[in-house]
């Protein structure tokens, strides 16, 4: 079959890709066929009838035997047609215009026409298409309009207006086909037909906000934006999701607000199309969590501890005091930086700390490690999950992607549905299993051993490193010492034999050390099977924060400077910093954008015990800030500009959306002011200059990237927004930059590759009274920023541990019992939940549902039932 076919639209011939949907093909040729129910990401349903065209297809004349164009006697729906060679359509004839007018008249027969108070008004496909194609007046009787419910909550986040709904089923299909949460459906039929949800909780999906973007009318609106502003009043400011590592592109829609005293505020968050990153989707956390940014609890002035209390101070006073302390501390300082800081912030931070002569630097959360392996064998430039399909493989180990990186989950699942071989290695069932070709369960503690066994099971035919690899013999010998089950060996073979293969390493149940070894084992497998240095091949690590990748790139690491260049004198890592705090071997600790005390009781203990001077820089008075000697108010992503680097190493820009809250300053500005005071160099605080000059000079991987290049855009398909509101939904076209991926070492074909035996831990086993307590990540956790967002807070569960019913029975535990789990001398209290998917002998405990509410890594710990209330 030819790759392209010729079709004729309104008497003009075009060449379009074969097998394409007719509406898409017409769009590609610049011809708009109006649609409501069709969506390029959802396929056709054929139920709105808006896309009627005159259709002619080539047919053989039975009398003459000649091919000729046969026109269908009636109008046909374009969305249900696939282009064929010689197809001809008319989209502007009288007949077509009549058809569209009548369809719109019917769609509007019971529509309330309340555009003046409708959130969608101004960006509404129904409104736009009615203006263009619809009748001026209706022949229907006003009194006969069907009246249905308005303001019906489909959950806390989404409201339904039944009268406005035109039954296109885009939302239902999105939930079923894209999100795999089939919790929306139609009830009744005919004029009474309406959308319902019966899940518990209602509209139980972390992608629910997307339905409001693709809804072609004002039927679905978000609780966040309802009656909040008009679309045309708002200014779009490009930004990046600052909560999970996929680097989702979004816009802050901003407007000066009377209620905020004329300040410009964020009215809503909308997806910004980037077909290589998040396409046109956002998770509900990305979309709705922004409220913390303008929360009244934000710190507005520096605080200094005086007489045991934190009291407000001026910037001058605070910075002078910090400079004096750092000067006195010399090299005995350490820095911990959280993954919400920008690359420019990180660069300035390491400049400050290294300026002191110290390499005591740790990125937070510290539990996921292995960035140096990403720098070697990360996915190749040009990697796009959309291009992964039949013949390719994706391996996901130790991750519940649905919770850790929802957008990757969507895209990996879609790749599997397109035919990619999906291999899922985990200790328990996750939502990816359903789509997997190979589902392998390991015992907790054997994560690395499982990957080693995969490598060890491969015969020479599958070991195809494609170039010189240092340490291959030794590593293979080591890997062959691990036993692989036949299922695991089959998965290894499928992975090795795939055309392209991506390996995704998560942080489920593992701490920093295992995480590092897991990345080593993953890197070995990728190199040995030749899946490196090309697009759609290589390693992705699911970081614990949005810009963890950037933190490592900028040298927030005790062993690596900017650009993964080894430092001469390695410093203390996160665990080392805690130890040094306790032994008073540090004189000062600078924590920026991180709240380790919230997660880690060892850190709390150390901060309480130490004599070191503690500087905390954050948006809120966190539990960590509460223990500080000085607290500096810093800005959220909305108040500054800069760059983030996604887990796929895509460097992307974000822009300032609102004025700084109070006297808060950008993190980089604070670091650089201090660095200047201490004589570590001049303070160049403009983000673009730091990126183009300082970072480009110090980080070889970023040398070829300019701040300007990050803002480059190109035409994407399917095109959304703009004139095409009805086609792709109200998600915005990307006008502010698609970002640039930086190349890894393996992409240079002359670069040597190194493998080393990956040290494997041993199996954790439950005992009579103790279970393997496994910390896992959940999207809706109780971290401070979630607490500040009323809308999402309602979905955060009470702290719990999921147990297998058999273990619960053995330990005399019932659902709802309060449990106490003690490890390392620290006790946590959680509610027992019985879950068939929890493996035998394990207690699955979500991280961050309460302060210090989970162990840092999987551990065997006694699980004790507290007395039942009232028992």
């Amino acid at each position: 079959m030819a790759d392209t076919v010729k079709i004729t639209i309104d008497d003009i011939e075009y060449e379009v890709p074969a097998g394409m949907n007719l509406v898409d093909a017409a769009k590609l040729c610049g011809v708009d066929i109006p649609v409501f129910c069709y969506h390029p990401k959802l396929g056709y349903a054929g139920n709105c009838r808006m896309c009627l065209v005159e259709l002619g297809t080539p047919r053989r004349n039975r009398e003459t035997g000649e091919m000729e164009l046969a026109w269908f006697p009636r109008l046909q729906t374009a969305c249900t047609q696939t282009v064929v060679d010689g197809m001809s359509i008319r989209t502007r004839s009288e007949k077509v215009r009549d058809g569209r007018r009548i369809i719109l008249e019917l769609l509007l027969s019971s529509h309330p026409l309340d555009c003046p108070i409708c959130d969608k008004g101004g960006e509404c496909p129904l409104q736009n298409l009615t203006m263009e194609h619809g009748p001026e007046t209706s022949r229907m009787y006003w009194e006969d309009k069907m009246h249905l419910g308005k303001h019906i909550p489909l959950g806390e986040l989404i409201y339904l207006d039944q009268e406005r709904c035109i039954h296109c089923a885009r939302c239902i299909r999105f939930q079923r086909l894209v999100a795999d949460d089939p919790v929306l459906g139609f009830d009744q039929r005919g004029r009474r037909q309406r959308i319902i949800t019966s899940s518990t909780p209602p509209f139980d999906s972390i992608f629910s906000g997307n339905t409001t973007d693709i809804c072609p009318v004002g039927a679905l609106t978000t609780a966040d934006f309802r009656f909040n502003a008009r679309p045309w009043e708002m200014v779009q400011v490009a930004t990046i999701c600052s909560h999970t590592p996929e680097g989702s592109n979004m816009y802050f829609d901003t407007r000066p607000d009377r209620e905020a005293g004329g300040r410009t505020t964020i009215k809503r968050v909308m997806p910004r199309q980037n077909e290589q990153v998040n396409e046109i989707w956002l998770s509900d956390k990305s979309r709705f969590v922004h409220h913390y940014m303008e929360h009244p609890d934000r710190l507005t002035r520096p605080l200094i501890r005086k007489g045991g209390k934190l009291v407000e101070a001026t910037w001058e006073e605070a910075l002078e005091e910090i400079a004096r302390q750092l000067q006195a501390a010399e090299a005995e300082v350490a820095g911990i930086a959280g993954g919400r800081l920008s690359n420019e912030d990180f660069f300035a931070f390491q400049k400050l700390i290294r300026g002191q002569g110290s390499n005591n630097l740790a990125a937070y959360p510290a539990r996921v490690a292995g960035a140096e392996f990403v720098a070697q064998v990360g996915v190749g430039v040009g990697t796009n999950f959309l291009d992964v399909g039949e013949g390719d493989a994706i391996l996901v180990v130790a991750s519940d992607l649905h919770e850790e990186a929802p957008i990757w989950w969507l895209r990996v699942k879609a790749a599997a549905e397109r035919g990619a071989t999906l291999i899922v290695l985990n200790g328990r069932e996750t939502r990816l299993d359903k789509f997997a070709t190979h589902r392998i369960r390991y015992a907790y503690g054997e994560e690395v051993a499982t990957l080693n066994a995969m490598l060890g099971s491969l015969d020479d035919e599958h070991i195809q490193p494609e170039r010189e690899v240092e340490g291959l013999e030794e590593t293979l010998r080591h890997a062959r010492g691990f036993e692989a089950s036949p299922e695991l060996a089959a998965a290894a073979k499928a992975f090795a034999g795939a055309e392209n293969a991506i390996l995704i390493v998560g942080g489920e149940g593992v701490g920093a050390e295992t995480s590092h070894n897991l990345a080593q084992a993953a890197s070995n497998l990728l190199i040995a099977t030749g899946h490196v240095g090309r697009p759609n091949n290589g390693l992705i690590i699911v970081w614990g924060a949005a810009n963890s990748q950037g933190a490592f790139d900028m040298g927030i690491h005790h062993r690596y400077g900017p650009g993964y260049q080894p430092v001469e004198q390695p410093g203390l890592d996160y665990a080392g910093i805690i130890a040094a705090l306790k032994s008073n071997d540090l004189k000062a600790l600078y924590i920026a954008g991180a709240d380790p005390v919230f997660d880690d009781w060892l850190m709390e203990e150390a901060l309480r015990a130490t004599n070191a001077y503690i500087i905390v820089q954050d948006m809120f008075l966190t539990q960590t800030a509460d223990l500080a000697d000085v607290v500096l108010p810093t800005q959220s992503i909305a108040e500054k500009e800069g760059t983030y680097t996604s887990g796929e190493r895509r460097v992307q820009r974000f822009y300032q959306a609102i004025e700084p809250i109070g006297e808060s300053k950008a993190d980089r500005e604070i670091f650089l002011t201090l660095a200047q005071k201490l004589g570590h160099g001049e303070a160049r605080t403009v983000a673009g200059l730091i990126f183009n000059q300082d970072i480009a000079g110090a980080v070889p991987q970023y040398a070829g990237i300019t701040y300007q290049a990050l803002a480059r855009v190109e035409k994407q398909f399917p095109d959304v927004g703009g004139e095409d509101l009805y086609y792709g939904g109200t998600s915005y076209p990307n006008r502010h930059g698609l970002g640039v991926q930086w190349p890894v070492a393996a992409e240079d074909e002359s670069a040597g590759l190194v493998v080393r035996p990956a040290e494997a831990g041993s199996r954790l086993t439950a005992t009579d009274s103790a279970l393997v307590v496994v910390p896992v990540t959940v999207l809706y956790d109780a971290e401070p920023v979630m607490q500040k967002t009323q809308l999402l807070r309602q979905r955060v569960p009470a702290p719990y541990a999921a147990l297998n019913p058999a273990d619960a029975a053995r330990l005399g535990i019932e659902a709802g019992d309060m449990l106490e789990i003690t490890s390392d001398g620290h006790a946590i209290r959680v509610m027992a939940v019985l879950d068939e998917t929890a493996p035998r002998g394990a207690a699955i405990v979500p991280r961050r549902l309460q302060a210090q509410g989970a162990p840092l890594a999987a551990v065997v710990a006694p699980v004790v039932r507290l007395e039942r209330i009232g028992a």
Partner: protein, 167 residues
């Protein structure tokens, strides 16, 4: 009592008929309706689990079809066709008579839980209009006396057997 406890055999029979088990949704809904008189929320949940679909889908099917009831209905469903041929033969007056006799409106159920009256679209017996369908039985060429007689007969039949609903 779950459906699987009382009607296991029937359920398994229907599940075995389809390559994709979600196709068995309609027969299973009928079983629930037979069992409880209408389709309860719990039954919908159980069917959703049996067929591995979301309960929203089950509710949608119940809502789509007129013959499924998600609220209690009478033991006898009186479907009176009021489509054109029946209407020409006086079906509207006939329906009104039946309703007056029972003291309810179309769509309602008598307080004793015995009768539910519905005006319906064509049920395919135009040549013997007006027609009334009682559960699955057709009563053709109806008139007011026949209807009165039928209602009395049915009332007697109910009294002779156990009460339909225990409540």
């Amino acid at each position: 009592m779950a459906l699987l406890d009382t009607r296991k055999e029937d359920i398994e029979h229907h599940l075995s008929k389809y390559p994709d088990k979600r196709s068995a949704i309609m027969p299973l809904l009928y079983i629930a309706q037979e069992e409880y008189g209408y389709i309860t929320e719990e039954a919908m949940q159980e069917i959703a689990e049996l067929l591995d679909v979301d309960i929203t889908h089950v509710k949608g099917v119940v809502g789509f079809y007129g013959m499924y009831y998600d609220k209690p209905k009478g033991k006898y469903l009186l479907y009176i066709c009021t489509d054109l041929p029946c209407a020409l033969r006086g079906a509207e007056e006939f329906s009104q008579h039946v309703c007056e006799k029972l003291g309810i409106q179309p769509g309602e159920t008598t307080p004793d839980g015995i009768f539910t009256v519905e005006n319906v679209m064509c049920i395919g017996a135009c040549h013997r209009a007006p027609v009334m369908q009682v559960n699955f039985h057709f009563h053709e060429n109806m008139d007011e006396e026949k209807a009165d007689q039928l209602i009395e007969d049915l009332r007697r039949e109910v009294k002779a057997t156990e009460p339909y609903r225990s409540e």
